[in-house]
């Protein structure tokens, strides 16, 4: 009897005090579907302005394969304001979000006044409403600002459509070019050309300068180039060779590799005082430093254990910690913008792929499926990694979103592209 009562009590207590909880860990592999409705224009304004802006926004948002679009031919209407917007017209088409807008006016100086809105169709709410004024000569720039706001509203991550990419093009055996372009490959500029190799470009946090390595004088030298004036200066009087410069988050110093007698070690170099502070001192090769976002630590590659592995050093205490143990090749480590994870090149059976690792975890996760990946760089919002890879002998830039849903390659350049470096966000 007692046992019966006990069982009954458990049942009753279960039904009274606990509530069923179902865990949802896995999300859908589908992409959010967005309708980019052609922007309307007010009376007397060229229709092409509206179409151009919505087309640019659409291109931006689809650039990294994170969203799916609704073809214009399937749209039931082209609303340009909230008054003529009906959720059911979009719900029936399986749309998750709709972007609408209108060019309201153009003043005598050629400045456009544009209003735009973003709707969440499933929740039946307007997520975003904004207005922007910009020159008719800068429709691309205006579109990028609107795209950033929409992207941020949908994903919760900073928009990156006005960021830039630096890379090195090796157009033939004797020509190396240091280039920068918009993230979509447009507006390419050549910063510096040389007959000798150029490598390891790194943006200053204010996006005004670039540090890189050039072999133009026969040895590896570090140069800092002002992007506006084009003026370039080498960092003088270091060791025999100097390489792998990386700006500190405050822009006041560089972490770099100096080799005084053929043994590379990690140093800090103060831009103002030109003082050099040694961080590592080991007979093994220490190279490829990179700062943690809080400036307290530096990740670097070292073969001190017999194979290239990633280590972390505290810049104050100089205490070191080994970060990777899987496989016999882990190199070119970088921190995620939140500092909680790292990404790097992981070698396994002759394949070199981009991998990630949470610093709190023992396990690594391989992201890419190509086999000769190198020089990964991450978007400033921490969501996309671009890396150099090869198709035969031709190098190109591949990319992947961190959820693995989208893999893409950037537009092919005239020559092999290597050493990508994603710029910081504009402040």
């Amino acid at each position: 009897m007692i046992r019966f009562l006990f069982v009954a009590l458990i049942l009753v207590s279960n039904s009274i005090f606990s509530i069923l909880e179902i865990e949802i860990l896995k999300g859908s592999d589908n992409l959010s579907k967005i309708a980019f409705v052609p922007f309307g224009v007010d009376d007397g304004i060229e229709e092409s302005y509206g179409r151009q802006i919505s087309r640019n926004i659409e291109k931006n948002m689809l650039l990294f394969g994170e969203f799916e679009n609704l073809p214009k031919s399937e749209m039931l209407s082209y609303p340009s304001s909230g008054n003529d917007f009906y959720y059911r017209d979009w719900k029936v088409l399986g749309v998750d979000y709709s972007v609408i807008g209108k060019v309201n006016s153009v003043n005598s100086l050629g400045n456009l006044n544009i209003s735009y809105s973003l709707f969440n169709i499933n929740r039946r709410i307007k997520l975003l409403e904004g207005e922007i004024v910009g020159s008719e000569d800068n429709i691309e720039g205006i579109s990028k600002i609107i795209s950033n706001r929409i992207y941020e509203e949908i994903t919760g991550l900073k928009g990156i459509f006005d960021t830039k990419l630096a890379y090195v093009i090796n157009s033939d055996a004797d020509t190396y070019q240091m280039c920068i372009s918009d993230i979509d490959g447009k507006n390419e500029q050549i910063l510096f050309s040389s007959k000798a190799p150029i490598m390891s470009p790194d943006w200053s946090p204010d996006r005004k300068k670039m540090a890189y390595v050039s072999f133009e004088n026969g040895l590896a030298e570090i140069f800092i180039q002002d992007l506006q004036s084009g003026e370039r200066n080498s960092i003088q009087a270091l060791g025999m060779t100097n390489s792998a410069p990386v700006w500190s988050p405050d822009g006041k110093s560089l972490a770099l590799v100096v080799s005084f007698s053929g043994n590379p070690d990690i140093f800090l170099y103060s831009i103002n005082s030109k003082r050099l502070i040694r961080l590592t001192n080991h007979y093994g090769i220490d190279t490829e430093p990179s700062w943690s976002p809080d400036s307290k630590k530096i990740i670097f590659t070292s073969d001190r254990s017999g194979s290239p592995q990633l280590y972390e050093i505290n810049t104050q205490s100089k205490r070191k910690k080994r970060l990777t143990r899987d496989g016999n090749y882990n190199a070119r480590g970088r921190y995620f913008p939140d500092g909680k994870s790292i990404f790097f090149v992981h070698g396994n059976n002759g394949n070199f792929q981009i991998a990630t690792k949470k610093l709190s975890s023992r396990y690594i996760e391989t992201l890419t499926s190509t086999s000769l990946d190198e020089s990964p760089t991450i978007s400033p919002n921490g969501n996309i990694i671009i890396y150099a890879t090869k198709d035969g002998s031709n190098g190109y830039l591949g990319g992947i979103t961190l959820d693995g849903k989208s893999r893409f390659s950037l537009p092919v350049k005239n020559g092999s592209v290597r050493e990508p470096a994603w710029s910081p966000l504009l402040n």
Partner: protein
């Protein structure tokens, strides 16, 4: 003579005890695991249970001699009492086992429906990417017996608004949870009238 009768009685009592034990163990195996429970015909089992514990069912197994000495009566009574007490324990065991089977069947139904709901929500939830951030949000669900989603509420939002928004967007795509229609009404009321969905950004929560 008396001795002979006593021996005979004892023999019958032992026989009776053995037959009882045999009858108990001839019931379909009750102490079963989850997989076995699927194979058991639950309806037949309940009927057998009713027969076993039905007071009107002739208890032919216990026969009393009409003429006995008081000493023998006492012995018999004591033996009977022992058997009955043993039998009672077995009855309890059986009932417990049947309760266990019922619970196991209910648990299976709950798990089955929960798994379908889990898969459906997963198929419509477009989870924002958050590699390093471990987030949890809880949504309470209120269903009608028809499976219609009457109400949902983000009762424990995460600290990340886009994570919360993605959950609300997914929940707004749901109108019906048809899978609960296959459930016994009592089970629905106990478990699925109100339940929670716990959304996690990753399997590993720090």
């Amino acid at each position: 003579m008396n001795k002979a009768l006593t021996s005979l009685n004892t023999f019958f009592l032992v026989l009776l005890f053995l037959s009882l034990i045999f009858s108990i163990f001839s019931i379909p195996k009750l102490n079963i695991d989850k997989t076995q429970s699927i194979r058991v015909n639950f309806y037949e089992l309940i009927q057998e249970e009713d027969i076993l514990f039905d007071s009107s069912f002739p208890k032919t197994t216990v026969k009393k001699e009409t003429k006995k000495t008081s000493a023998t009566d006492e012995k018999i009574k004591a033996a009977e009492a022992a058997i009955v007490s043993k039998f009672k324990i077995n009855k309890l065991d059986i009932k417990n086992e049947i309760s266990k089977i019922k619970l196991s069947k209910e648990r299976e139904d709950i798990l089955r429906v929960s798994a379908i709901i889990q898969a459906r929500i997963s198929s419509i939830w477009i989870k924002p990417n958050s590699l390093s951030e471990s987030l949890i949000a809880k949504v309470s669900i209120n269903l009608a017996p028809s499976g219609e989603l009457l109400n949902f509420d983000l009762i424990e939002p995460s600290i990340n608004s886009s994570f919360n928004n993605s959950i609300l967007t997914a929940m707004n795509k749901m109108t019906f949870f048809e899978e609960v229609l296959s459930l016994d009404r009592k089970l629905f009321e106990q478990n699925f009238r109100n339940f929670n969905l716990v959304f996690k950004s990753s399997g590993e929560i720090e």
